[in-house]
Structures are given as C-alpha cells and as structure tokens.
C-alpha cells in the first residue's frame, strides 16, 4: 500500500467496495474530464448515473451532455475533443452499434478520448447480458482496446487510458472494456488512489489543434478524393504503431506509483506451462483458479491474458505461447463465418512464423451471458494435454457449455 502513495502527498490510497461500473465512475470523478456526453445503456448505466450525481453534487467541473442517443453522444464527444477538451463517454452493445458511424470519425481525426464499455451481446435475439460481440464488431475502427479482468483493472485502465490516448505519438481514442454484469455489477474490494495522484499522473491535457483557438484556425473533417485517402489512412496508422510502447511505458509508470504494473498481456504461470489458455477480461479470473487446482494435480497449465487487443501484441503472444505444447483460445464472441473467433484468428496468425508452433484450438463461450463453469475450463486443459500427448488436434473450433 505504501508504494501507492506519492512522496509529497499525505493522503493514502483507499480500499473501497465498488462495482466495476462504480470503479470507472470513481476514476472519472478523479480525472474530471472537460466534457462527458453519454446515453445510459445496460450494463454500463451505473457509470452514467453515478457520474451524473457527481456532476449534480458539484464534485467535478465536467460539462455533462445528456444526449438523446449514442450516435449523438459520440458526435458531441467528437465536437468537444476537436474543440480541445479532455473527453469521455460510456456505452455498450446496441448503443455502441448505434455509435458506429462516428467511431471511425473519432479515430480518423486522431481525437484522443476514452470510452468505457461494459461488454454486452448484440441483438438478435435481444439479450442484455455479457459477451464481447459489441467491441469485437469495432475491432478495426482504429480505436485502442484495453480489456479489464475486474473492477481494479477497470479503474486502473480508465486512468491510464487518458495518458495513452493523449500521448503526442499516439493521439488515438482508447476504449476500456469490462465484462457486462460479471464485472460491471459485481461488488469487489479495490484500491482507489488519491485524487492528487490521479490528477498528477494524467497531467494537464494539451490538445494538438484545438478548434476553439481562434488565432490558429484549423479545419477538421475535410473530404478526400482517391488521390489522398490512402495517404491519410496510412498516416492514421502511426498512432497505432506507436501505441504498444506507450501502453507499456504508461503501465510501468503507473506501477511505480501504485504497485500495480500493466503491460500488453499478462502471463500467469506461463514460465513452465505446457498447456495454455488465451482469454480476455473476467474469465481470466476463473482460469487462474482452475490453474491453481490443476498445478496441484501436476498439470502444467498457464494463462495468457490479453489486455491490449488493439493494437494486437503479436510478438508478446508468440513469445509467450511458443514454449507451450497446445493452446486453447477462448473467444467470448461468435465467428460470424470466419475461421474462428476474432481472438483466435489473431493468436493463430501470431504463431505462424514460429518454427514449431503449438497446436491451437478455439472455443466460443459465454455468449449472451452464458456461464462458464470451472469444470469446463478444466476440461479444456485436459483436452489440451490429450492433444499434446496424441498429436491429434480434433475439432478446430468448438463451443463451451452449449446444449447439443
């Protein structure tokens, strides 16, 4: 805990009980953005409600724009960010889908803003529960994706996201995702840093080309003909290419202050793992439990948790998994007709250059809030052991906890 306090500040970090939504709202209060424009949607509603209360109670200076839809919310965020403000919004699922048109505008204009998302399934059938279909649908919209395992990571990622997005070499919007309900509504004990530490850590925001600087006029959102569009899209990629280094540097700096270090991925018992699961967000917690059980039984199980899905940390993934014998990638999202889930495609591609890559299989799980019991995770490891033993891979893509 001592590590979490800065030299000159007297107050200490606090241990609090908060939901994942509450943890994000608390980070927002400390960040005190210039503008928050949002439209509440389950399961991220509590973030917007709690933050609205902070505004009403005068705890933040934020201009809180209550819009009539998510499309308008993201549009208002674009305007505010182009104006030169530090901006944030919150959404998920259908709300995110409704924002879609503006998501590419945000990243194309290189507007640094942060969007918290409580991951939730997409219609149809209508379902308000958690899975990753919503953010996976926007995986190539030019946003940086950070996924959080629990409330603590939701809080930490929200604070760090501003530093990443606003870095002059990145200048790219960042989304911070938590699992709908599993994390958004679960009350957990977590550490909240002091207001001063967060304020100092994120620093004063210096916008690149604020529109409200009338002495230096600038045009946002010009049209391109075929003679320039490609050059602009290549130029946009610079932020994404620079992001991994910045994400790691910010994660290290944050760790030096709080004791909680962050990278692109988190390896759990991977040093000597023979069988590995790759997964994102809350499910990583369950997998860690299963690993502890299996290790006692002498099974060399490990976990590679992806924190930064975009830009995808291919080198780190390849390095970590190349030592294993077999790998199962758990996607909380359907394949949509692809060769597997989105995470699986990335992981398998990352291993293509390896001399003797492990066998990689894919499981689709947890759609629309479907539970993933620990015994199912255990079965995955046992199958991985069997694949390694026999060399027979079997089905490439399968489902977990599906009635059939």
């Amino acid at each position: 805990m001592e590590k979490g306090t800065m030299k000159k500040t007297k107050s200490k970090s606090r241990r609090v009980f908060l939901t994942g939504d509450g943890a994000i709202a608390e980070a927002m209060r400390q960040i005190n953005p210039h503008v928050v424009a949002a439209y509440p949607i389950t399961p991220s509603t509590q973030v917007v409600e709690t933050f609205a209360r902070f505004v009403a109670d005068g705890l933040v200076d934020t201009e809180f724009v209550v819009t009539e839809s998510e499309h308008s919310a993201m549009s208002a965020c674009v305007g505010a960010a182009a104006g030169g403000g530090r901006v944030m919004t919150v959404t998920g699922s259908q709300g995110l889908a409704y924002m879609f048109e503006v998501l590419g505008v945000t990243s194309g204009l290189r507007l640094p803003m942060v969007m918290a998302i409580a991951n939730r399934a997409l219609n149809s059938p209508l379902n308000i529960h958690g899975d990753h279909s919503d953010t996976m649908a926007m995986r190539d919209m030019g946003w940086i994706h950070l996924y959080s395992e629990n409330g603590q990571e939701a809080y930490d990622n929200t604070v760090q996201a501003f530093r990443i997005a606003e870095n002059p070499n990145v200048r790219t919007p960042v989304l911070v995702a938590i699992d709908g309900f599993q994390t958004s509504h679960m009350v957990e004990t977590l550490t909240v840093e002091t207001d001063e530490l967060v304020k100092k850590f994120i620093g004063k925001y210096i916008p690149s080309y604020p529109m409200i600087d009338i002495d230096n006029p600038v045009l946002y959102g010009a049209a391109d003909r075929p003679d320039y569009y490609m050059e602009h899209k290549r130029n946009q990629l610079v932020g994404m290419i620079n992001a991994p280094e910045v994400i790691q540097q910010v994660g290290k700096e944050y760790g030096d202050l709080t004791g909680r270090y962050y990278g692109l991925v988190e390896e759990y018992r991977m040093e000597d793992a023979e069988y590995a699961i790759v997964v994102m967000s809350a499910t990583a917690g369950s997998v860690k439990d299963v690993i502890e059980q299996l290790r006692e039984e002498g099974v060399a199980a490990g976990l590679l948790k992806i924190r930064a899905f975009r830009p995808f940390p291919a080198d780190e993934v390849a390095k970590s998994l190349s030592r294993t014998k077999s790998v199962a990638v758990l996607d909380r999202c359907g394949t949509g007709g692809a060769q597997g889930g989105p995470l699986f495609l990335e992981v398998r591609t990352a291993l293509y250059e390896e001399k003797s890559p492990p066998q990689v299989i894919n499981y689709i799980f947890g759609l629309g809030g479907r539970d993933l019991p620990l015994r199912d995770i255990k079965d995955v490891y046992l199958r991985l052991r069997e694949i390694a033993r026999t060399g027979k891979r079997g089905k490439l893509v399968d489902f977990l906890n599906l009635r059939e």
Partner: protein, 99 residues
C-alpha cells in the same frame, strides 16, 4: 495553373486536418465537371451580379470588371447564369465536347 504536387503520407498533418486556412485555391475543385462555363465579353455589362452570387469565387474580376472564369474552381452550378440580367445572357453552360 500547374498540376498540383501530391504529398507523401509522411508529409500530411495528423488526422487529415487542414492547418493552412484559405488554401482551397490550391486544390482544383472544379476539374471534375464535364461541362464548362463560358462568358461573353460583348454582351456583359459588368454589373457583377454573377461575381457576388458565385459560391466559389470563380468569376475573375479586375478593376471592377469581369475578366473571365476560373475554370479550375468553377463547378458549373449555373447560379451566375441564372442571375445574369442581360439578354441574351452573358454566361452560358456548354458541354465539354463542344468546348
């Protein structure tokens, strides 16, 4: 006007922003139109109604007199033709094949 030099991606400002204000004259915004606007000097009274109504500042004027059309920026919208008071009109749209 000579053909514009196209920039490399490294030379572009971040986010497709345009930082030099009033630089639209550098882009040949009117070169896509298959039609063309022609001006008849003989009937023109230099009332400048076309000049004040043109949305693209494409009526070239010197010393309060029309001197021609800026073909690189005129989009051939016909607004000037509409407002020209002379009979016959001193501005006319012709198709490029004719031109």
């Amino acid at each position: 006007m000579k053909k514009q030099e196209l920039k490399k991606w490294q030379e572009l400002p971040i986010g497709g922003l345009i930082l030099d204000m009033g630089n639209s004259s550098e882009t040949q915004t009117g070169d896509w139109n298959p039609n063309r606007l022609v001006w008849n000097e003989d009937t023109c009274t230099h009332c400048l109604l076309c000049w004040i109504n043109c949305p693209d500042a494409s009526i070239k004027v010197e010393n309060s007199k029309v001197i021609g059309i800026d073909d690189y920026h005129c989009k051939v919208c016909g607004i000037c033709v509409e407002v020209c008071p002379t009979k016959p009109k001193s501005l006319e749209i012709i198709s490029e094949e004719v031109a």
